[in-house]
Symmetry: C2
Subunit: 287 residues, 2 copies
């Protein structure tokens, strides 16, 4: 297991990465000293490494002397499949959904024990909401999270439920039995619900994006887990969330279909070389 992975890292690379990891939402700009402190590195070392990162434009240094994440790093990050494939494909459908409903529309994937928010659309007047593109929220307390968990590999689900669950609001369901029942219901119905379990006053509906979506329905509970989940969040006093299910399902299915299509024809309009497809040997995968 990668128990301590990413924490210690005595190697140079590890130190450089620790430097990057010092940034987060609450600290998007850091002075050199802050950086060194947060990365737990001697000032001189932080200075040298940060300098190198800056030269490569992984970091930028503002006129206030603070370091920030650089455009180059941002650019590189956008090449991650989650953005270049998933977001790319899903965005137009999410826009349609937004226009039709005028509510917060979310797209998330499961990443470890979190729902990782890949995209989020919301107008000016929408509910102020905790989610953030690139942000993480617990799986059991969010609509998209439940949809992902409901469709996940049983083993993953077990492991998740074995851990202590956070309780953002008084309505968060943390009792194992009840949560399991809710997840089974969600899997059966094809959509998940949360009622003020993450934020007081907000309810959300979400559906899985992927093979589970529709076609593989009656037959197998053992179909591949969804790639993502699509969800909508509304103020709880606004009408019944069930109304939102049909358009959500339609959008999710359309996205899933396009994902399969784009997997076939490699990448539209780009010089692709289709390199030989090596097969995987064992070992080393989870060393």
């Amino acid at each position: 297991m990668a128990a301590d992975a990413g924490q210690d890292a005595r190697s140079v690379t590890g130190r450089a990465l620790r430097l990057l990891a010092a940034f987060d939402v609450a600290h998007p700009a850091l002075t050199l000293s802050e950086l060194a402190r947060r990365a737990d590195l001697p000032l001189a070392t932080a200075h040298r490494l940060a300098g190198e990162l800056q030269a490569w434009r992984a970091l930028e240094r503002g006129s206030d002397g603070r370091f920030r994440i650089g455009n180059r790093l941002w650019e590189m990050g956008l090449l991650a499949p989650v953005s270049s494939r998933l977001r790319q494909v899903a965005l137009p459908f999410m826009q349609d959904l937004y226009e039709a409903t005028r509510e917060n529309v979310h797209l998330a994937v499961r990443d470890g024990c979190d729902a990782l928010y890949v995209e989020k659309l919301c107008g000016h007047r929408s509910v102020p909401i905790v989610s953030r593109v690139g942000g993480r929220l617990p799986l059991h307390a969010t609509g998209v999270g439940k949809a992902l968990l409901a469709g996940a590999d049983p083993q993953v689900r077990e492991d998740y439920l074995d851990r202590p669950l956070s309780r953002p609001t008084g309505f968060t369901v943390v009792e194992r039995g009840r949560l399991e029942r809710e997840l089974r219901d969600a899997a059966r119905r094809g959509y998940a619900l949360t009622r003020e379990e993450m934020t007081l006053g907000s309810v959300s509906v979400a559906v899985p994006v992927g093979p589970t979506g529709e076609e593989a329905e009656g037959s197998a509970a053992g179909s591949a887990p969804p790639e993502a989940a699509l969800g909508i969040v509304v103020r709880s006093h606004r009408a019944d969330p069930a109304r939102l299910v049909p358009p959500l399902k339609a959008a999710a299915q359309a996205i899933a279909r396009r994902l399969v299509e784009t997997a076939r024809d490699p990448a539209p309009g780009l010089d692709h070389e289709l390199p030989p497809m090596p097969v995987q040997r064992r070992g080393a995968r989870d060393a």
Copy 2:
């Protein structure tokens, strides 16, 4: 000057970064050998470094044995100001604009000698277009690029024009005199135009986002350069682009205003600690 910056890099950090830089739009997934070749590193070295990056989840390794950019890197990238501030603020207005016009809406910043595309909205039916979020296009051949160049610091503009200019189509304006005139016109009118200069069959309109926008108009040509540019691309046979200028200007102004506001109140709803503001000493900025 950072003449050779980012190319050589004999340091460990440099090698690791070279590994990252091996990925691009056309190569979003690489085998270890490809990675080593493209980064120009011995296989053993690439293996070790890629392994470390993978442990940190800056890279991920798919079931096909290929490396891809990891979610962790994507997450980090989203902390760059261009995304966490600019995109964040602009997106709702861009959505409005898209709904009102149903055309491709672009947001870009100047990054060195390129227009760097920060966000792009386009429905299913829009013009297939070369731009891509996180992608770069030449400043002189795109609408947003001209808007940025027109508002840029005169010295930057000079430097840009001194370099040889690419010519994506037969309509691209590369003659210095004519280009300068167009830029002056754009600055005066407050919007820039391109007609099939990047892509045959497409024309675009763009306006600067920033102080130049409106208020600082009559008085000074020497106002601060725009932070970004907002543009729309349409098929050239569709009606006159001038029609799009008013909504564009309105949106740009709204965005600029919100940018100033958010600069004042640090970050909505987050535990901010407002660390002491150190002042910058000389030296080292452009070493």
